[in-house]
Amino acid sequence: MMINAKKLMKLAKKWQQRAALKRKRISFQRSSITTSSQTAVEKGCFVVYTADKIRFSFPLSYLSNTIVQELLKISEEEFGLPTEGPITLPFDSAFLEYLINLIQRRMDEDTEKALLLSISSARSSFQPQQHCSATQQLLVF
């Protein structure tokens, strides 16, 4: 069966939209340019901010991921459970993006264990002033 050009264009557009949607689900934007009214509340997502004030929006399913749960625990230990605003993680966006990358690669159990260990052993170095440099050196493989 032949597909005419018009149909092909339509199909391509649809795929582009789908891809864009996928990107958006694990997206981040500079919080300096977002105000509460501009912040789109994405369906099926929860939000965390990093220490450098970047907003990340994850699908709810990420909440069952052990590493994500560990990150939330670290946030609680660092900042307590905020009653007035969003969740903030005590490290920068580059590190979080790196972690997301690892999570998406679906690491095996051993790698996950090693990563969890390296996150928790680095906890003590999560000082407000120096955490950025400390977090950059975590687990390289």
Partner: protein, 370 residues
């Protein structure tokens, strides 16, 4: 021997006329009848194990004087585990009845004694379990109790739950806070601790921009928390995060309730009693406005929903998505919440309602994850 007849099945009530319901993580009783009117209860779980407990008891408040009739309402917000709040729910009302029977009436002293003995007995349990279950020493609970009797409302509070009265005023309603709270982030609570421990420079420590007693806990009074009451528990095998670096001789936390007594007037419409999980998201006035302007049926659940909508907004997510989150990890989005609304103004109440005492317990057992 006190044998409480209301301990029939945890989380159940003995009367089939008053069904309570569970919907996912929410437990509720949309509308019921107590001695002086109607009430509504609702709870939602966020922790992996529900740490809040609540109860309402209506009928005779002594064992020997049937003319002392009233309503007892309790909200218990546990921390470090559910054991202390469950212990309060099992014990405080029978103790109140016992002490009320001695003087054949309800008084501030009777209520305070019930708090003191509940705490004493819980600490005994901690001592007994210390060899096998030392972490019980770090379990505690806030305790908010309201007693409505003889045209008076007694509000006794240990910790940071809150009771708010809705008083009708010029077509609207005004919030009157009845409870005195004990949280280190209140100036009054800090002053009290500093004056009780003048020689301890670290009695209050600022952590995460919040004041904490010894840097570990926000409430300045509680039931349980044995590790902050008796030095004998301040050692291994208690987890290091609960151990204080220095020895202490004087209890750091007390279980004494602050008691207020208010004479009810015809303008007094209802009282809202709730754990701090609700008040984190709703102001006193917002809460009384919702109750004043909504139907009675399901009012407690309506308050719960209003608080959760606010919590979702703060976390920059949708309310419908928030309700999908599983207990445990859900604690990062809101706390366990308990809310009880007790209506006061005379409503058509069946004349025989005194004859049928009411006993409802909420919050146990609920969803549990390992």
């Amino acid at each position: 021997m006190v044998k409480p007849c209301w301990r029939i099945g945890a989380g159940m009530e003995r009367s089939k006329i008053n069904p309570t319901k569970v919907d996912g993580l929410t437990w509720y009783k949309d509308l019921g009848l107590h001695t002086f009117g109607e009430f509504s209860m609702a709870m939602i779980q966020a922790n992996s194990v529900m740490e809040d407990q609540c109860q309402i008891e209506s009928g005779p408040l002594t064992f020997n004087n049937p003319t002392v009739q009233g309503t007892f309402v309790g909200v218990y917000d546990g921390h470090g585990g559910p054991e202390a709040s469950r212990f309060i729910a099992d014990n405080i009302f029978p103790k109140l009845k016992k002490f009320a029977s001695e003087g054949r009436e309800i008084s501030e002293q009777v209520i305070s004694k019930a708090f003191a003995e509940t705490d004493k007995d819980f600490l005994k349990t901690v001592t007994k379990q210390w060899p096998t279950n030392p972490q019980m020493a770090s379990v505690g609970s806030c305790c908010l109790a309201g007693v409505i009797c003889n045209g008076l409302v007694y509000i006794a509070n240990t910790g940071d739950s809150r009771a708010v009265l809705g008083r009708s005023e010029r077509g609207g309603v005004r919030a009157v806070q009845l409870s005195v709270e004990h949280n280190a982030n209140l100036e009054s609570a800090r002053q009290e601790l500093w004056s009780l421990h003048p020689n301890d420079p670290t009695i209050l420590v600022m952590k995460h921009r919040l004041w904490r007693v010894k840097g570990v806990i926000q409430v300045t009074r509680s039931i349980g928390d044995a590790y902050l009451k008796r030095a004998e528990f301040n050692r291994e095998p208690l987890l290091p995060k609960f151990r204080l670096p220095e020895h202490f001789t004087k209890p750091i936390l007390s279980a004494d309730p602050s008691v207020t007594i208010t004479r009810l007037s015809p303008q007094d419409e209802f009282i809202i009693l709730a754990s701090d999980g609700l008040w984190e998201h709703l102001s006193n006035q917002e809460a009384v406005d919702i109750v004043h302007n909504s139907p009675r049926q399901g009012i407690a659940r309506r308050l719960l929903k209003a608080a959760l909508k606010e919590a979702a907004k703060k976390r920059e997510m949708r309310y419908s998505d928030l309700t999908e989150i599983h207990p445990g990890v859900r604690r990062h989005f809101h706390d366990d919440i308990t809310v009880i609304v007790v209506y006061l103004n005379p409503h058509p109440v069946k004349t025989n309602s005194w004859a049928s005492p009411l006993s409802i317990r909420g919050g146990y057992p609920m969803h549990s994850t390992s």
